[in-house]
Symmetry: C2
Subunit: 348 residues, 2 copies
Amino acid sequence: MVAYLGVLQLRQIVNEIGTETLIAALADRIEADFHRWPEFDKSPRYASHSARGVVELMPAADAERFAFKYVNGHPGNGQLGLQTVAAFGMLADVDTGYPVLISEMTILTALRTAATSAMAARHLARKDSRTMAVIGLGAQSEFQSIAFSELLGIENLRIWDTDPIATKKFLVNMQGRGIAIHVASGAEDAAAGADIVTTVTADKKRARILSGNMIAAGTHINAVGGDCPGKTELGPEILERGRVFVEHTPQTRIEGELQQMPADFPVTELWQVIRGEAPGRTGRDDITVFDSVGFAIEDFSALSLIYDLLCERSDIARLDLIASPSDPRDLFGLLTSGENPQVLRRAV
Amino acid sequence: MVAYLGVLQLRQIVNEIGTETLIAALADRIEADFHRWPEFDKSPRYASHSARGVVELMPAADAERFAFKYVNGHPGNGQLGLQTVAAFGMLADVDTGYPVLISEMTILTALRTAATSAMAARHLARKDSRTMAVIGLGAQSEFQSIAFSELLGIENLRIWDTDPIATKKFLVNMQGRGIAIHVASGAEDAAAGADIVTTVTADKKRARILSGNMIAAGTHINAVGGDCPGKTELGPEILERGRVFVEHTPQTRIEGELQQMPADFPVTELWQVIRGEAPGRTGRDDITVFDSVGFAIEDFSALSLIYDLLCERSDIARLDLIASPSDPRDLFGLLTSGENPQVLRRAV
């Protein structure tokens, strides 16, 4: 029987643990996994493109666990009342190849993306950062804000979205969290005086949310929204002025802000900073850019952590996803026999 | 909500429809999909190897549906009481990227493999074939036998396995089906007088179950067991004497009996025969070989057919696998709000 984590139960777990605490635990787990980066079986994601979007499979494995995420990207889904990006994932035992967990990953991806951003900023932003700009107030914005509040001590947000409804949604969701919020008049106003600038806009196009003149010395830029071919948020001059940090270089050159730059544009992989093999921020005036696109190891970390949390619970739902005949060679007998106790332990 | 098809319900559906009828329907669906082969988005399978086995993702898509199968191959699993090969799959709507079905695929793969073999033999074996040898009596053997009985009119089986327990299991499972069964004294005895020879042994090694002198003119060989690197069943002289038919050439050259042959060894893809673009059997004395390894389109066909069958039922189980906030941008609100009707339509 395979454990199942649906949306309802994940919501229950998040509310029991607290969003802040879960994001912090995810950040620690992702950091630990990045620290052992060379141990992972890393592959480019598999993508199948169609007229309206793309579906992808993102696999990653270590010596014990194999994980993959299925995720779509359909810019027109919002008009249908659907998520632009929805996902689910699986964790398997490498020794037997058997799946151990099927999990929703739309919410889990939002949590791990925010955790990865904050974890990267722990290494790249100034320690005294207290003010963050958030440009783009879509599905990811609250998760980013909470992650940076919890992990970096951000106390002030300067927010901006072209859509007032998104702004209102953000303000309602962030009420009562002890974070001061300034609604800016535009992206430039949002970035003014910010120690950290998070860009997390949703439009699937080459945009220029930030240009070089908006960015002060010492800023850390958390560039989250430019995450697929044809979608960018930063003016290229920002990448030239700053030092650029990425998850997995070959993927980021195709999907990230890097797609604007020459193929030999110098970057540092974040895991090298975490392992002390490459410098992160070298001084107060550095401009650092985390060109985040989302890598399969982060999904591995998230599935792995949530499975560990789930295993401590007594209310695990289970699926009869894998046939278990008492004699493995007698698969046919399983179909025709009147009963089979191993299978009849049905999903709760 | 995503439809879920577990082992128990698939068993119920198979027993309601009948194994023979379902395999015949699968064969027709697979043939129809092979007939529109050029329409499919085809990719090599993704494989992650470890010390004890391999796990694979096999994707395929047409303009409407995307499917993939997760499948492992762990030769040592039998000693743990587990399946050597276990699988599950997913079907998604290409227009939205949303999953519509999660399904067990261990049994479904056994059914589709047998259906593919029999469908290929419909094009390649002599029409008057009545006797089939089955060499290797593991998990796939009964499915193959039933498929060939149903689709080709096979009336006599000549069976062989090195393990008497497997033979006994096969005989028990095949009782009362009106098929005459001769337990042979070895592979050569099994093949003697057979119109069709099915090899479906399980050992993961380069074996030589059949050699050229065992094969009479006019035989169709259904080579199922040699399906991964390092695993073959036929002496290469058989491939040289016969005409070899494959699913997807690049995959079969790596995984099939073909791995023994030079890279330019001539083969014909089965879909070309089905579309009338290449000859199948050209005369009574041809030796034809279907070098089957299993291709993702067959899984697509199986998932697609079983989803169509499931949609006609009133007892569909559903999973809350995809978060559905009423405002797609308000994923965070879904976590914190007290209720959300779209999500609270919970799995039955």
